[in-house]
């Protein structure tokens, strides 16, 4: 170790890897991962959220977690987003591509992607 820059480089490299342990959880993205969710393709959606959040450098405030079945199996994969001052937003029939869009618009931009929400779905 010849300089503090080397130390900083290691810290930066590690930051993503330990952030998940320090997350404040101000925002929580909860993916339904019961049998119905998994069968409908929730796992790639979950992975897309994890990758997207990490890539955006938001892992210290946004926690991506899972939950069980919330009872609307025909709309799986279901994803719920809890933010501090907004009401819970429920997205349905999610895909990895939609996940990327939600990160860009909702998580980063604060704008709910209305067309994917449960309100927009025909029940």
């Amino acid at each position: 170790m010849k300089s503090i820059e080397e130390l900083k480089a290691i810290k930066a490299k590690m930051a993503d890897k330990v952030a998940v342990r320090n997350t404040t959880g101000d925002t929580r993205i909860v993916v339904g991962m019961a049998t119905c969710g998994i069968a409908a393709g929730a796992r790639p959606v979950l992975n897309a959220f994890v990758e997207g959040v990490t890539a955006a450098g938001l892992a210290d405030t946004v926690a991506v977690t899972q939950t069980g079945c919330i009872g609307i199996c025909q709309y799986e994969p279901v994803v719920e987003v809890y933010t501090k001052d907004q009401e819970k937003v429920t997205y349905v029939k999610m895909t990895p591509d939609r996940a990327k869009e939600v990160i860009e618009k909702h998580i980063k931009g604060g704008e709910v992607v209305a067309e994917y929400t449960i309100g927009a779905a025909k029940i």
């Binding site: 170790m1 010849k2 300089s3 503090i4 130390l7 290691i10 810290k11 490299k13 590690m14 930051a15 890897k17 330990v18 998940v20 342990r21 997350t23 959880g25 909860v30 993916v31 339904g32 991962m33 019961a34 049998t35 998994i38 979950l46 992975n47 994890v50 990758e51 990490t54 926690a63 991506v64 977690t65 899972q66 939950t67 069980g68 809890y82």
Partner: protein, 598 residues
């Protein structure tokens, strides 16, 4: 892509309750479910809640599982890691609140953690101690970089002085002042030593730091070396701590590989390297001069001070000796400033202190609290109180060198000076809780037996005096005590205190003095009434069968190992007191509460 971390405690407590088997099973189950790319397993140091080990915590949710068994692992993997449902029966929740939105209460909201403030233990249970990168991710070695890049040795000593940090090993000597003495000593060679010879019965603060955050020690010792002008350090650690020793060795090797130990660290021209010396388990080697003698390869015996080690220490060279927990605070003080540290604690005792909670308490384990927290908060809130509905009687701090704090002083804020005022001492941080079933004379005897065993024998007051003290205590608990024995105890105790060579002898009578001070009536009960009020001292007990309650079931006579109980079926039985060995087996078996001890 890793989405979740599963941290399993690999400290000594959880290892002995089986955490290695859990790690192995987790690995197997993750592979089975194809989750090894998504979930990362991390073995950490101690979380503190040793009574409920093995401990596991799952991030990002921060779900805290306690008393996990290998049989629980498939369920945790299937339910929590695969499907995202908490395994409720294993979630630790002492708050009494129901979970919200399927989220278990955050660790910091639990009663056990709420009042704690983790500085020395900040990384224990958070990082993998065998991975230097994780330490660096938590700002590790940045304090060393700051010191070498921006500060002079005098700056460093000033910050430590201003912080008000005092030695965490027992005496409470101001750390900055110790360093400044060593810096002022002129010599071609100086040494930095870490005292990790944690010997108090029931104390394991230092072990947990070594096991959970070994790099914190290495970094702090390098900072100390820079401050006093040394280039070589020694860690004296007990051989009875195999996990701690192994992790420290791994950490030293990793630090060398990164050039954080060795020559020209951070290109500053500063050199420092570190060695480990294993202690063979003699309590006296925790005394600094005995410790240094032992590192030199000689029999661990203390010598007179002065000269203090800061002037003449290891191999006759100026040396500082600090305790593990003291070092564990250093990097944080450098990074956050003296003011941050001195904002915690009381007027004369700054910062936090780690305590090993043991004895008659619900949450046995490791806690770190700001100085000035009251004993009541530690025992009743963090510790979860005395189990089985028993009453708190006293707490012993400072181990065999300390004294007891009676229930009447439970609201005393814990700091160095308050504890000394009430006849105890901080010591290294063992805190043993006693309930109404503990006999205080017996407690004094227990600690004295320990010091009698561990006295090195070099000086007469300690070698002979402690044995005589113990003899008087034995006489009292055997029922042969006389009132004048109490005066003799006090007189002898004061002689030993004032005439012994080192801290071991000077503090050995403390348990006797403090129990005499607060529980003199118990001594008198032993001497005058020939009774042990707590029902502990066997020779003063007698067992009797209450004839009215005895149904004559014969169970007691069958379990009695001495054949002391006789009687016919369906008739009241009788205990022959000359044969009774007072083992208590009959009381345990009697279903009718017919047997009493007096």
């Amino acid at each position: 892509m890793i989405r979740s971390h599963v941290l399993v405690c690999g400290g000594t407590g959880c290892t002995s309750s089986g955490s290695q088997a859990i790690l192995a099973k987790l690995e197997e189950e993750l592979k089975l479910k194809g989750l090894e790319e998504e979930i990362k397993l991390v073995q950490t140091g101690c979380f503190g809640l040793c009574a409920l080990g093995p401990i596991m915590i799952v991030y990002p949710e921060g779900t805290f599982y306690s008393q996990v068994t290998p049989e629980d692992v498939p369920e945790i993997v299937e339910e929590h890691l695969l499907k995202g449902r908490l395994v409720d029966r294993l979630v630790y929740n002492d708050t009494g609140d129901a979970k919200k939105d399927d989220v278990a209460p955050s660790l910091n909201d639990t009663t056990f953690y709420k009042k704690q403030k983790r500085v020395a233990l900040r990384n224990c249970g958070v990082i993998n101690p065998e991975n230097i990168d994780e330490y660096i991710a938590m700002n590790g070695y940045f304090a060393l970089a700051k010191v070498l890049g921006e500060m002079t040795p005098d700056d460093v000593i000033k910050v430590i002085n201003d912080s008000g940090l005092r030695g965490r090993g027992g005496g409470g000597f101001p750390t900055g002042r110790k360093w400044s003495f060593a810096k002022a000593s002129v010599s071609d060679k100086k040494y930095v030593v870490c005292n990790a010879d944690e010997g108090d019965p029931g104390a394991f603060m230092d072990r947990s730091v070594l096991e959970g955050d070994p790099h914190a020690l290495i970094e702090a010792m390098a900072i100390a070396a820079y401050a006093i002008g040394s280039d070589e350090g020694w860690v004296y650690v007990r051989a009875e701590y195999p996990i701690a020793v192994r992790r420290l060795q791994i950490a030293i090797e990793q630090a060398r590989e990164y050039g954080l130990l060795g020559e020209n660290i951070f290109g500053s021209g500063f050199n420092f390297d570190l060695h480990i010396r294993l202690g063979a388990g003699a309590f006296v080697c925790g005394e600094e001069t005995a410790l240094l003698t032992s590192i030199e390869g000689n029999r661990g015996e203390p010598r007179t001070r002065p000269p203090f080690p800061a002037v003449k220490g290891l191999w006759g060279k100026p040396t500082i000796v600090n305790n593990v927990e003291t070092y564990a605070n250093i990097a944080q003080i450098i990074l956050n400033g003296a003011e941050w540290f001195s904002s915690m604690g009381t007027e004369t005792s700054k910062g936090t202190k780690v305590f090993a909670l043991g004895g008659k308490i619900t949450n046995t384990g490791l806690v770190e609290i700001p100085m000035g927290t009251t004993l009541r908060e530690v025992v009743e809130e963090i510790g979860g109180g005395v189990p089985n509905g028993k009453k708190f009687k006293a707490a012993q701090t400072g181990g065999p060198s300390g004294g007891c704090i009676p229930a009447s002083l439970i609201d005393t804020p814990i700091d160095y000076d308050n504890l000394i005022k009430i006849g105890s001492m901080m010591g290294s941080g063992g805190l043993i809780v006693m309930d109404e079933d503990s006999c205080m004379v017996d407690i004094a005897k227990f600690f004295l037996e320990f010091t009698v065993d561990e006295s090195c024998g070099k000086c007469a007051p300690c070698r002979i005096g402690t044995v005589r003290l113990l003899e008087i205590l034995n006489k009292i608990t055997d029922g042969n005590g006389e009132m004048e024995d109490l005066d003799k105890l006090e007189e002898l105790a004061n002689y030993i205190k004032s005439a012994s060579l080192c801290g071991l002898g000077q503090t050995a009578p403390n348990p006797v003095i403090s129990t005499l001070r607060y529980f003199r009536d118990e001594y008198i009960a032993h001497i005058v009434d020939k009774k042990c009020p707590a029902g502990v001292c066997k020779k003063l007990l007698s067992y009797e069968i209450v004839a009215d309650k005895c149904k004559g079931c014969t169970l007691c006579s069958r379990v009695c190992p001495a054949n002391a109980i006789t009687g016919k079926v369906k008739e009241a039985h009788v205990i022959d007191k000359t044969k009774c060995v007072k083992c208590g087996a009959c009381i345990e078996k009697c279903k009718f509460g017919a047997i009493i001890k007096k």
